[in-house]
Subunit: 295 residues, 4 copies
């Protein structure tokens, strides 16, 4: 059984720490809110007086905090972990923070010969309770192997995201996409309902199309992802159909802010000469606009 | 074998008419561009001099045209179909046009005791050639039964969209969603690439989450679609994660127009009191903003 | 006194026609809604039965209609003006319609040797009543001279917009700018109010800055409009200040859809290498994105 | 002559401090970059080794730094100003920082009985050199009186923004409006140019309309600002004209991201029942969407 410091006992941290205790690990817990520790204390955790106190003698230091500034503070601030940490321990940050802040923390720890992993989690607080979180592990192969027994107390699936820093990056991209997509799906649905079309009817069709299956694994692999921009469905036609939908929405007073923005992206792609390319060339267009590559 | 008028011989219409001929039907074809008819003439089609001429003696009149104005013109304009159409025939409009224009045409034909179906198609021109289009049939059950043998010459799957007008509506919603989603997916991807994260790594995770699986069949059915807005994942947290992604993008000069618009939608939802509701409540929020229902 | 056909007797057309009558001109009026003509009939106007009837013997044909399709119909449709118009008359379209539709009408009339002017109006229906509209005259110098006595019965200022087609173009640009600016001003104001800052205090400062004076005549003339992009205020700094405002707004749940879109425009400008240029270089950036010119 | 600490010697800070020296004040300067102080040292400033050292014996402490975190650090961090500051001195923060961070600093200083003013500046680095900055003074009447002789060494106009915290708030709003307006003006201009209309012609008209004069002092004072929403120009009509412009832009491939967002705002206003109100009611609409007030 491992000796683990657990810092950050919020809605996610508390059940995660509880599961570690249930699996028999020795925990030293810390939270700025002293009452957060009580329940864990009752389960056998030592309640530390500071991050510095929490990490004493621990092999793993887990942080689960609201933002990167707090992660930084508990490690490097007054009475921070850095003041008494074992040099052979691993700091595992499971928070969702800014990737560049996460990189900074890794680099700063490395200069002190301390290992760091970025291991945010997926799914919900219910999964935290049942120990079935999705673990997005960022770190070296060796680090992930070493940490897996600990991580699997909190989740039931570990994804090796391919290297240090990738865990927090994958989390960011996944959440961006799923959260923005939620709003876009709502726009499509209110347009559907404004046309008196039952959503189930639309879903019957969309189930088999990129509208619900997404593009990453349907239209993109054989086109833009392998550099083929010959049109299966031209940007000009996509622009036309999108404009038709916006006209209808506009007539029905259905505001579609994301839809409207997407139309302007297609207009911009046309303006820069991509009208006759496949619609997946929108990715190439955005790469150009992001300075990722030149035309 | 049926007698069919086919009006509109473009990139989609020509292969569709060809497949009808191959299956042995008698075709009278018309297009404003006279050369478009030549190939079909060689295959045995009668080349009509006007829509009025095309529909003579036909049971089915199929239109496949770029917009609703043209559909209207070939039916009701000078030398239009209406001047010689059989009263027991069905007009099947397979174009992608404005749903309210489609409704107008149906109503106007109904007043002349002529039947009308809106039957746009899904998939690409390659599928038109191979006769494997997706047929989105809008009409009564009887109409769809009667037209099915004809429609199955052009496609390999018919979806009964649930009533007259629903075919064109489903097409509109599906295309809106898939075309806008294409651009949103590109935004997520350029952010991914700007963070030096390989897209495949992100996809490994997104494959199992709403980011790629969509929300319609994952997060929504047990929440907003049955009126339960208690949070699995709060709008406040979704807003926080989205803001984090936008901050990162902004720092890396990755313009995310759709992502930015989506964040303002979440802000608006919070401003109107939905911060502690489930993120699927964005749908309820947009319903309120669209005048579909009151708070 | 002139013989004038006036077609379109809505909220604007009725008072405009009334003023022409008051100045002693002979009017033949037409509207699809027959009751619209009654008031003018009482004032001495002849009520025509069709556009064809209205234009009989007239030197000037004025149209004031909701959209280009209707303007087209009253001129070229059944019983349209074209059927009995004098070849030496001028058609003056005072409607706000699509510029390219306006061009089409001009070209079509020109091929019939009939003159056409696009002369939309500015200001409100109150000004239509008092005869103080702003007249945006599109046409040749000769046409404007010839029409001025008529136009000045309806407005008190004529702007020669520089040529045929420019009248309707100026109207479009002016309305785009003022209507969108209205919404942007509202965004700034709700942010102001959310910060508990009285708008009057903000106005005291903004009165002397581009925030209220605009950019066209302040920051642009010595910079981007003469091709000088050396920075007085760098795009990078504008982007930073704008991001600060959006962060504040976001924290206060003030949705700023236009502000958010503008930030992404600045991000895109930075991504394409303009960060160290003057902020007025945003115009150059948008020119590139619109295909107006290459980098 | 006053004893002044000046912390932050960047592109703005250096000329501002230089002007204070030229007027005969005694300066103690500090910057994390040691070379930044050299020029001021040559002009007679004492170069401090820390903020703590800089404030020794000073009546005024001026900070001119890139962000609120740095302002906080130089005051409250290690070797910060707070460690040796005179209790009767005033801290004058002239940076552009987050208003809520500025409030925090004021409150924290107040609890130590130290006065604080937020006094950001307007105009450019050229004005900093010539001592003609616009001074946006946030503070009590007494504070502004006391600080004015110092401030007028750096600028030629002081605006009393009406109270503590208002200086930084006015700056934020002014910059939001002017920076976003710059991008909106560019959108209008590329649409203008795409229509082959010279900008000067459009400006001739816009000079006299809200398009260039803004709304704050033209259309708003007699309408929404005094609660009168009876229409001079209806939201429905503004929406129509805006849609016309967007259609034209779309046809010409001119992407108008801000214009597109503004149209959706008008759609939303119509959807929530404001179609027949005056266009200035957009402000009321956004107030509702921001949670500032209920319908």
């Amino acid at each position: 059984m491992a000796h683990i410091a657990f810092i950050g006992l919020g809605q996610m941290g508390t059940p995660m720490a509880t599961n570690l205790l249930h699996k028999g690990h020795h925990l030293r817990v810390y939270d700025i809110n002293p009452t957060a520790s009580e329940k864990l204390n009752a389960l056998g955790a030592y309640v530390a007086t500071s991050p510095k106190d929490a990490v004493l003698g621990c092999e793993f230091i887990i942080t689960m905090l609201p933002n990167g500034k707090l992660v930084n503070d508990v490690i490097f601030g007054n009475n921070g972990a850095i003041e008494s940490i074992n040099r052979n321990s691993i700091v595992i940050d499971m928070s969702t923070i800014h990737p560049l802040e996460s990189d900074d923390i890794r680099n700063r720890l490395r200069s002190e010969n301390i290992e760091f992993m970025d291991v945010p989690v997926g799914r919900t607080s219910d999964h935290a309770i049942s120990g079935t979180l999705l673990i997005l592990a960022g770190g070296t192969k060796e680090q992930i192997e070493k940490a897996s027994p600990i991580l699997l107390c909190m989740g039931n699936k570990i994804v090796n995201t391919g290297g240090p820093g990738n865990g927090i990056r994958v989390k960011l991209i996944n959440n961006f996409m799923s959260i923005a997509l939620n709003a876009l799906s709502a726009e499509a649905t209110v347009l559907c309902e404004s046309l008196n079309l039952p959503l189930e009817k639309a879903l019957e069709v969309m189930e088999g199309t990129p509208a619900n299956k997404g593009h990453f694994t349907t239209t993109w692999p054989n086109k833009v992802l392998k550099g083929d921009l010959t049109p299966s469905f031209m940007i000009d036609l996509a622009h036309k159909d999108l404009s038709l939908a916006l006209d209808v929405a506009n007539q029905l007073n259905v505001p579609l802010f994301m839809g409207a923005a997407s139309r302007e992206i297609y207009s911009q792609a046309r303006a820069t000469g991509r009208g006759k390319q496949d619609w997946t060339a929108i990715l190439e267009h955005l790469r150009n606009c992001s300075g990722l590559k030149d035309d």
